[in-house]
Every structure is written in structure tokens, then in C-alpha cells.
């Protein structure tokens, strides 16, 4: 194995090793932050061979990070790196070691999944990430946390099962475990739609697709800030990556699935924003914003499914969008966390200004990464069939408006909620947060997709109008609200559709519980019956003693002997 092969292997291995070595005592901040260094190194110095095969690992593993994958890997690694440093001073008290073990394992899984190019390896990393993330969510012990954890883990399990099914079916029908071959052959698979459906479900849970998103608004507010940052910034993107790996993107057009993706994506974009607006907790607002943003990326996936030729530019655009979103969202979550600590008024101002930066970026303000990302995504829409192109041209700006409103709401909530009562934090988190802001501003320009047209004045204007519209809408809304006498608006519950879903789940559970109780009772009756039978049989055996006593009486026995002789004699007659 050459150096490149080792380096790729170290991407997931190094965080895992750190977790194992330091499971009792956490090392210094810098050592912790090195966990993500191999991944960054892979991005900065791309190995000569794009992909490396490890025939001895698992069922024959293929690792590599080229093109879009490298972009995914880069921002993921950076977000983890910052989050690791942030967490080092942020997480305190009991369970600190446990948190870091899970944190590092989740990191290993997340980074590993991004470079895994075959199904078993991807699945292994994906599972490692998903299960470890549970430990991040339930770090603070409370009833709310446990509830969020339960919902999360149930969905994870459903997702894992769906993915396993999809992968096994794919591998079984196509005879390969490599994603490239699966993408090639999936169109010919006899159970194509079943496999795709399962993959949509399995990755959709991670990516926070509508209805499957319910864990997000529950998990984010309860998780510590750095955990939320990586959950929302990077882990949910893995679902998206999964789609890009697994679905036959670029190989054949699947109009049905493509339309579904676009529609569902748009629905998520608006639905997330809409529900998010009516929330009271800034972190919940951010979670819904993630749902909304993931919706936009889902639209991107749908575009490729509609028009296979778009695969190269659009997947790059999606990766860039994910990068922009990941950096911005993690900065927001870290900031939202800082807002809950004890801060002075000065610091509060700094915080709000700092938070405004990624907020603007998310809203797609000119000169921000958001603007770049959106235009990259929209650039290829022209190649789509007309009605889709039209729809997207109308819908995406509207989505920007919604996002802008949501961000405004977020800033407002942070402003209202900040107090001096929270726990004290040191300097390091602020520095790291600043670093993340810096990345939000700088990095997209550095790695921005090649061939992106330089920003022109009309572009800037085009980027401005949604912001203006949002501002107008906000003003109108506030005015209307005041006119109406400032009625109190009932807050939508966190996790919105979770309530009916949970009701359904619990009642189904009750039903099965009842039937299983019935089955248990039946079983018990059966067992009792069997025990009764056994007792009766045993009593019968005991009572046979009387018969035996009779049989062994002298007279009876001799008569029997006589009868025996007679019977034999008779039988002998033939």
C-alpha cells in the first residue's frame, strides 16, 4: 500500500483510534482536532490515484474522493475540526469522556462514508455515524433528550433496515458491491423501483426529507451546540451523498423519480421555512431551516434524475451548496450555543453581527456563498424540460424569500433570548466560532466551482430582490400583527407531524402489545395445559401401581399364564 492508500484509510481510522486510545481521558484540544486532519489532507493533496481498492477489508473495500466527493469531504472535515475544538471547552461535567468517544466515532463514520465507494464500507460508516450520533443527542440527560433520542434511534433503525434492504437487493440482482457498478446497472435491475424506493426512504431519513424530518427539530435543541453543528452541517448531508452514490444519476433519466424529488424538495423547502417561522427556540428554527435547505439540494438531485446529462455540473453544484450550507449552518449553531452562555452586551452585539453573516449567506445575499451556490444550482435549469425550468425559476427565488424570513426570525429570537445567566465559557469557543465565520466568508470563493461566471452587477441585483421582498413582507406582517392587537400566535410543536405519527406508532405498539399480551396469555394457558397434562400423566403412571399390584397377584398371574398358553396354542393353529 502506498502513502495515498494509507492516507485514505486514516480518514476514518484516525478518529476511531483516538476514541479508543483516549476513552478514559480526553487529550488536549489540538490532539482532538487532529482527528479530522487526514481528511483535510486528502482534500488538499488529492492522492494520485483517485480510488484505492483494499481487497482484504470487509468485502473488498474501495475508497476515494474525487470531484464532488472531495468537496463534500473538505467542508465536512473542516466543520468537524472546528466542532471538535469547540466541544473541547464546551462539553463539561459528567459524561464528557463518553461524549468524545461518540463524537470521534461519529466523525469517523461521517468522514468514512464520504470516501467509501462500495456499499458495505459505506453502510458500515453510515451506521457507525448514525448510532454514534445518538450518543451526541442524548448527552444531556432529561426526559426531553430521551424522547428526542428515542425518536431518532427508531428512525435510524428504520433507515438502516431500508438501506440494508436496498443494498442487498441491489447487490443480489446486480452481483456487485461497488457504487459505480450499481449506478450503471440499476436501470436493468428487475426490482429497480423497489430498490430506489428503499434508498429514498433510508437516506431520506438522514437528509430530513418531509415527514422523515421529525427527528431534526427534536434533536437539535437538546444536543450540545457542537453536536448540533455537525448534525446539521455535515451528517444530514450524508443522506444526500447517499442518494448521489446509489441512484443511477447520470446513467439514465428517471422522470418519475426525478419529478418526485423535485416536488418533494420544493415542498420541504417551503414547509420547513413555514413551520420554522412559528417556533420559539432559535435552534429549532435552525433545524427547520436545515429541512428547508436540504429540500433545495433535493431539488438538485431531482434535476439530475430528470436530465441525466446534467450530472457533472449539478452534482458539483449540489456539493458546493452543501459546502456553503454546512459551513453557514455550523457557524449558526455554534453561535446560537454561544448566545446561551453568559455574555456581556458588547459580546452580544458581536454575536449578532457575526450571526448575521451566515444568515445572509443562507438567504442568498449578494457576494455571499449562498448567492454563488444558488446561481450554480440554477445555472443548469435551462437544460430541463420547459415546465420544470419554469417552475424552478419561480420557486427558487420564493424559497430564498422564505429563507430570508426564517433567518430574520432566528436573529430576532437570538436577540430576545440572550441573557447573562448562562454558563461561562472561555475564549477558545469564540475564537473557533470566528474561524468558522471566516470559513463561511472565504472558503466558498476559494473552492467555488470552476466555470462559474464572475459576479456581475445584474447578478448582484438579482440576488438582492428576494431580500428586499422578505424585508417588505416582514414589515407588512408586523404591521398587520400590530393592527390586529398583537394576538398571541400558538406555536407549532417541535417536530410538527411527529405528533400524529407518534400517536399512530404508539397505538400500533399498543395494539401489538395487546395482541402479544394475548399471545403470551395463550402461551401461558398452553404451557399450563401442558403442565397439567404432564401432572395427569404422572398421576396415571403412579396409579398404574394398582394395576401392577393386581397383575402380580399369584392367582391373577397364574391365570394370565394359563391364558397366555391357550392363546399361543390357538394362534399356533394358524
Amino acid at each position: 500500500m502506498n502513502a495515498a492508500a494509507w492516507l485514505l484509510l486514516l480518514v476514518p481510522l484516525w478518529p476511531g483510534l483516538l476514541a479508543l486510545i483516549f476513552h478514559r481521558r480526553i487529550p488536549g484540544r489540538l490532539v482532538t482536532m487532529t482527528a479530522a486532519v487526514p481528511a483535510v489532507a486528502v482534500c488538499l493533496y488529492p492522492p494520485a490515484a483517485a480510488e484505492v481498492v483494499y481487497p482484504w477489508l470487509l468485502l473488498g473495500t474501495r475508497l476515494g474522493a474525487s470531484d464532488a466527493d472531495a468537496m463534500f469531504l473538505l467542508f465536512t472535515a473542516l466543520v468537524w475540526l472546528i466542532a471538535a475544538g469547540f466541544a473541547h471547552s464546551w462539553i463539561k461535567g459528567a459524561g464528557r469522556e463518553r461524549f468524545f468517544v461518540f463524537f470521534l466515532f461519529a466523525m469517523a463514520g461521517n468522514l468514512g462514508a464520504l470516501i467509501a465507494q462500495d456499499m458495505p464500507a459505506f453502510y458500515a460508516c453510515f451506521a457507525l455515524m448514525s448510532f454514534s450520533a445518538y450518543g451526541l443527542i442524548v448527552h444531556k440527560t432529561s426526559e426531553k433528550t430521551r424522547h428526542a433520542g428515542r425518536v431518532y434511534i427508531v428512525l435510524v433503525l428504520i433507515g438502516e433496515a431500508a438501506l440494508a434492504l436496498a443494498m442487498i437487493l441491489a447487490a443480489g440482482t446486480l452481483g456487485t458491491t461497488e457504487f459505480a457498478a450499481v449506478r450503471d446497472g440499476l436501470g436493468t435491475s428487475s426490482s429497480r423501483d423497489l430498490i430506489i424506493g428503499l434508498a429514498v426512504l433510508g437516506f431520506g431519513i438522514k437528509a430530513g426529507a418531509p415527514i422523515l424530518h421529525v427527528w431534526l427539530p427534536l434533536a437539535h435543541p437538546v444536543a450540545p451546540a457542537p453536536a448540533s453543528a455537525v448534525l446539521s452541517g455535515t451528517m444530514i448531508v450524508t443522506g444526500l451523498v447517499g442518494w448521489l452514490r446509489f441512484l443511477p444519476v447520470g446513467e439514465l433519466a428517471l422522470p418519475g423519480w426525478g419529478s418526485a424529488f423535485v416536488i418533494v424538495g420544493l415542498a420541504a423547502a417551503f414547509y420547513g421555512a413555514f413551520v420554522g417561522l412559528d417556533q420559539r427556540d432559535p435552534k429549532v428554527v435552525l433545524a427547520y431551516s436545515s429541512v428547508s435547505q436540504m429540500g433545495i439540494m433535493t431539488v438538485g438531485v431531482g434535476t439530475i434524475l430528470l436530465e441525466a446529462t446534467l450530472v457533472t455540473p449539478v452534482s458539483l453544484a449540489i456539493a458546493f451548496f452543501a459546502l456553503h450550507h454546512g459551513l453557514a449552518k455550523s457557524a449558526l449553531f455554534l453561535g446560537a450555543g454561544l448566545a446561551r452562555s453568559a455574555i456581556s452586551t458588547d459580546r452580544r452585539r458581536t454575536l449578532l453581527i457575526g450571526l448575521a453573516l451566515p444568515s445572509l449567506a443562507l438567504a442568498g445575499a449578494p457576494l455571499t456563498s449562498g448567492m454563488l451556490a444558488k446561481s450554480a444550482l440554477v445555472a443548469s435549469d435551462a437544460a430541463l424540460p420547459d415546465r420544470w425550468a419554469t417552475l424552478l425559476q419561480v420557486a427558487l427565488p420564493l424559497a430564498s424569500i422564505a429563507t430570508a424570513l426564517l433567518m430574520a426570525r432566528f436573529l430576532l429570537l437570538v436577540y430576545q433570548g440572550a441573557s447573562a445567566a448562562g454558563p461561562r465559557v472561555g475564549k477558545a469557543p469564540w475564537v473557533l466560532w470566528g474561524l468558522s465565520l471566516l470559513l463561511v466568508v472565504v472558503l466558498p470563493w476559494w473552492v467555488g466551482p470552476a466555470g462559474l461566471a464572475p459576479m456581475t452587477a445584474p447578478d448582484v441585483l438579482a440576488g438582492l430582490w428576494p431580500l428586499g421582498a422578505a424585508l417588505g413582507l416582514a414589515v407588512v406582517a408586523v404591521w398587520v400583527w400590530r393592527q390586529a392587537g398583537r394576538p398571541s400566535i400558538p406555536a407549532l410543536p417541535e417536530g410538527d407531524v411527529l405528533l400524529p405519527l407518534e400517536w399512530l406508532f404508539i397505538n400500533t405498539g399498543r395494539f401489538f402489545g395487546r395482541s402479544s399480551a394475548g399471545a403470551a396469555a395463550f402461551r401461558k394457558r398452553l404451557l399450563n395445559g401442558a403442565a397439567g397434562e404432564r401432572r395427569r400423566a404422572w398421576a396415571l403412571v403412579q396409579r398404574s401401581g394398582h394395576a401392577e399390584a393386581w397383575l402380580t397377584r399369584w392367582q391373577v398371574a397364574l391365570v394370565l399364564a394359563l391364558l397366555l398358553g391357550v392363546a399361543i396354542g390357538l394362534a399356533a393353529m394358524g
Binding site: H23, P55, W56, L57, L58, L59, G60, R98, P120, A121, Y123, A124, A127, F131, G135, V138, T141, I153, L157, I158, E160, A161, A162, A164, L165, I168, L169, A171, G172, T173, S191, S516, A520
Partner: protein, 498 residues
């Protein structure tokens, strides 16, 4: 006969003789007993590996002794048999170390280790058996050698469990005898031959062959814990942890599963078994067992009972793999013999560590155990995830191959079954894992025996960690040459060779 040719016999003797000597040892000669035990185990492992290596060189071992006219006792080195015997020899060594540590101060150790050795002798014999009647002989021997271990504690519960164990296994043995004879009366031979012995009779004796198959499966199914013949297994969990390990991973249920393989692969042959519709029937029984075992496990409150039901469920993956009728699925089934063994033995070791060190037997008492015994509980967690089928643990590899094999054999329903079963596995394992790591530990453990700096005696901890590491390694490096998977693939390919 050179000693080379007698190798199969030496393999048996390497545990039989120490066992017999140990019976005669007084209770207090601890060192000698331990030395005998360990040297026997090491020698056996060495011999088995030697035999394996020689077989790789093309040496064929076969020992025959006339038993009946036209029917011999045969010991033979076959790929499948070697596969199993290596597994049991390795796990025996580990379990012996564990048992020495576990039974530190308990009475009747000579008796215990004597029967322990007999058990492994019987298992090795069953693995190397070259025909059905030899297998039957060792099958019965195993039943008898295990009984004293099950009732070792001598309590009322132990005796009840022993009775139940016997009622099932002796009954199973009787049924197996009947089936064997029936088959013999049809075929006139009982040799284990790749491709089976029944092919020439399929046309004329289809009904009788099918019926004999059902009888044979009913006989072997007792040890393989197929529903509804499984009830003895959860009851037998009253035995000490090393015995549970032996029952669940090394010997008893494994011989049952191995017997099913022999039945399908070497006696009936894959073709005849599928052609007569027998394999499909077996697959359905296995499927029912998988689901039923998991459902029952959900309802348990005692850790070892839960693990026992989990075994019931997991073991049928092996039967399922055999029955699906394709090389890939068979690979999954065969390799699960090893994978399930490694994972389940770890789980039982960990459960034993809890019971021995902290006096914890019930699941509700496991809260916070991760803080007190992190290594044991990490091993437990790892293998629990393995049971669920999470990569890169061993269980994933088995399920993956079973699933792909099922698709291959046009039995996609099995894939759904596997997914459902995984969810059920998660449903009963994850709450435990959660309690171990996320619940606060109690003020006072039921029966804390703190000793030394390690969380428990090293004799208990090291085997646990070793098997856990193995369970991880065989999954992580599944594609490496000489891994169990590669080996299973080879064996399966032979069975399905045209």
C-alpha cells in the same frame, strides 16, 4: 498406522484423555487440573490446525472401524468438518480459560471439567464424523456429556432444566436414530458424500425419502433449536456461564446446525433436497424460528434468557442459509456457524462477567454497568451490534451473504425477513445497550466482588475481549484469504459444484 494417519483419533483423544484423568483428580489439585485442561486445549488446537494444514497439502485422513455389517464408524477430514472442528477447538481453548476463572471457588470442579472435556470430544467427533451413524453416536454422547454441566449447580431449577434438556435431546436422539435407520433401509449406506447419497433413489422412493427427511430434521432440530423444539435452550440458561457458552456457541446447538448441513449437503445433497421440496420446507421452519425467537427475546427480563432466545433466532440463519439452495446463501449459512459462535460466546462471557463480578442477572440491574465494567460492556455492545447486523461486525457479513443469496435464489422474501429480524434484534438489544451506557449506575451492586485493579479477573476479561476482537476481525477482514468467509465460500462452492 503412523501417527499421522491416526490424527483424527488424536484430535479426539486430546480432550478425551485429559477429561478422563481430570475425573480422577481430587478436588484440591487445582494446578494440575488447570494444566491438563489448558494443555489438552492447546494440543487439540495444534492438532486441528496441523490436520487442516496437511489437508491443504492434499492429505486425506480416514479412519474406519466396523460397527455393523456394512456400516462403519468413520472419522474423516472433510472441508466442512475441518471448518467446524477448528472453530470448536479454538473456542474450547477460550472457554476453558474462562471457565477456570469463572469456577474459581465453586465445588465439583473435577467433575465439571471432566464433562466439559467430554463435551468437546463429542463435538470434535461429530465434526469429523464420516457418516450419519458416527455422527449419531457423537450426537448422543454430546447429550449425555452436557447433562451434568446443565445440572451442575444442583439446585431445583438446575435439575428442572436438566430434565427438560434431556427430555428434548434424548427424544431428539431417538427420533434421529429412527430417521437414520429409515434412510438406511432405503439407501443402504449412510456415508457423507458431497452431493449426497439419495440421488439414485429419488425417483422410486420420493415419499419415503421426504418423510425420512422430516424425521431426521425433527431429530437434529432439537439441538439446532428449531421452533417448536427449542424450549430447552432458554431453560438451560440456569447453568454457569461457561456452560452457556458451550451450549450456545461451541458445542450443542452448533452440532445441531452442523447436523443440518450434513443432512442437506452430504446426505440428501442440495439437488435432491431442493428437488423434493424439502429444503424449502426447512427454510420456512427456519424463518418462523427466526421471527419467533426474536419476539420471545423481546419479552424477557433475564439477560441470559434473552440471549438464549436470541440464539434460537440467530441459529436459524444457518438453517436458512443451507435451505435456500444457492451457493451464496449457503456461504452465509456456513460462515454464520463461526460468526454466531464468536458473537454469542462474547455475549455470554460478558453476561457471565456481570453475574460473577457484580451479581447482576436481570436486565434491569444492568443500568450503568458500562461505568463499572467498561471493557466487558464494550465487548457486549460490539457483539450486540453484530447480532443486529451492523457492519463491520461478523453478523453483517452473514446477513449480507444470506440476503444476496436469497435474492440469488429468487427468495426475496428472505431479505425482508432479515431486515425485520434485524429490527427486532435492535429492539431487544438497544435498550440494554442504552441502559449500560446512559443510565447512572446504582449506589450498590447486588453482589460486588471487586478484586484488583482490573474490572474483573483477567481470566474472565481476556477471553471476552479476545472473542469480541475476533468477532470484529472476521467481519472487518472478511475478504482476506483464509478468513472464515473465504473458507465458507470454498465449501459452499464444492457443495454446489456441478
Amino acid at each position: 498406522m503412523t501417527w499421522q494417519a491416526a490424527l483424527p483419533l488424536l484430535v479426539l483423544a486430546s480432550s478425551l484423555l485429559p477429561g478422563l484423568v481430570i475425573f480422577a483428580l481430587p478436588e484440591r489439585s487445582r494446578t494440575l487440573r488447570t494444566a491438563l485442561n489448558l494443555s489438552g486445549a492447546v494440543v487439540k488446537l495444534f492438532l486441528v490446525v496441523w490436520m487442516l494444514w496437511q489437508s491443504g497439502q492434499g492429505v486425506h485422513y480416514e479412519l474406519r472401524a466396523a460397527l455393523l455389517p456394512g456400516l462403519d464408524l468413520v472419522l474423516r477430514s472433510s472441508e466442512l468438518g475441518l471448518f467446524f472442528v477448528v472453530l470448536s477447538a479454538l473456542l474450547w481453548l477460550v472457554t476453558t480459560i474462562y471457565a477456570v476463572g469463572y469456577l474459581e471457588d465453586s465445588p465439583n470442579r473435577s467433575r465439571f471439567f471432566g464433562f466439559f472435556s467430554l463435551c468437546v470430544t463429542a463435538t470434535a467427533g461429530a465434526a469429523l464424523a464420516g457418516n450419519l451413524i458416527t455422527f449419531l453416536a457423537f450426537y448422543e454422547m454430546l447429550t449425555l456429556a452436557t447433562y451434568p454441566l446443565v445440572v451442575h449447580r444442583g439446585t431445583a431449577a438446575a435439575r428442572r432444566a436438566g430434565r427438560m434438556y434431556l427430555a428434548y435431546t434424548i427424544g431428539g436422539g431417538g427420533v434421529l436414530t429412527l430417521g437414520t435407520l429409515w434412510l438406511y433401509s432405503i439407501t443402504g449406506t449412510l456415508e457423507f458424500v458431497p452431493g449426497g447419497i439419495v440421488a439414485p433413489f429419488v425417483d422410486r422412493n420420493a415419499t419415503a425419502l421426504s418423510a425420512a427427511f422430516v424425521v431426521l430434521v425433527a431429530g437434529i432440530g432439537v439441538k439446532a433449536a428449531l421452533v417448536p423444539l427449542h424450549s430447552w435452550l432458554p431453560t438451560a440458561m440456569v447453568a454457569p456461564a461457561p456452560v452457556s457458552a458451550l451450549l450456545h456457541a461451541v458445542a450443542v446447538v452448533k452440532v445441531g446446525a452442523f447436523g443440518l448441513m450434513r443432512l442437506v449437503f452430504s446426505t440428501y445433497g442440495v439437488e435432491a433436497a431442493s428437488g423434493l421440496g424439502l429444503a424449502q420446507g426447512l427454510a420456512v421452519v427456519a424463518a418462523v424460528t427466526i421471527v419467533y425467537g426474536s419476539l420471545r427475546a423481546l419479552a424477557q427480563t433475564n439477560l441470559k434468557r434473552l440471549l438464549a432466545y436470541s440464539t434460537v433466532s440467530q441459529l436459524s440463519y444457518i438453517a436458512l442459509g443451507i435451505a435456500l439452495g444457492g451457493a451464496v446463501a449457503a456461504t452465509g449459512g456456513i460462515v454464520h456457524l463461526v460468526h454466531q459462535g464468536l458473537m454469542k460466546i462474547t455475549l455470554f462471557f460478558a453476561a457471565g462477567n456481570l453475574a460473577e463480578t457484580l451479581g447482576v442477572h436481570e436486565i434491569r440491574d444492568m443500568r450503568g454497568a458500562g461505568r463499572r465494567m467498561p471493557w466487558s460492556m464494550a465487548a457486549f455492545t460490539l457483539c450486540a451490534f453484530g447480532m443486529i447486523g451492523t457492519p463491520p461486525m461478523a453478523g453483517f457479513i452473514s446477513k449480507w451473504y444470506l440476503g444476496i443469496g436469497a435474492v440469488d435464489s429468487d427468495a426475496a422474501w428472505v431479505v425482508w425477513l432479515l431486515a425485520g429480524s434485524s429490527i427486532l434484534n435492535a429492539a431487544y438489544f438497544l435498550p440494554i445497550v442504552w441502559a449500560i451506557w446512559f443510565e447512572p449506575p446504582p449506589e450498590q451492586w447486588p453482589h460486588d466482588k471487586r478484586s484488583g485493579r482490573a474490572e474483573t479477573s483477567l481470566m474472565l476479561l481476556v477471553p471476552t475481549l479476545f472473542t469480541a476482537a475476533m468477532a470484529l476481525a472476521v467481519g472487518l477482514f472478511a475478504a482476506t484469504p483464509y478468513s472464515p468467509l473465504e473458507w465458507a465460500r470454498l465449501i459452499a462452492a464444492r457443495q454446489y459444484a456441478p
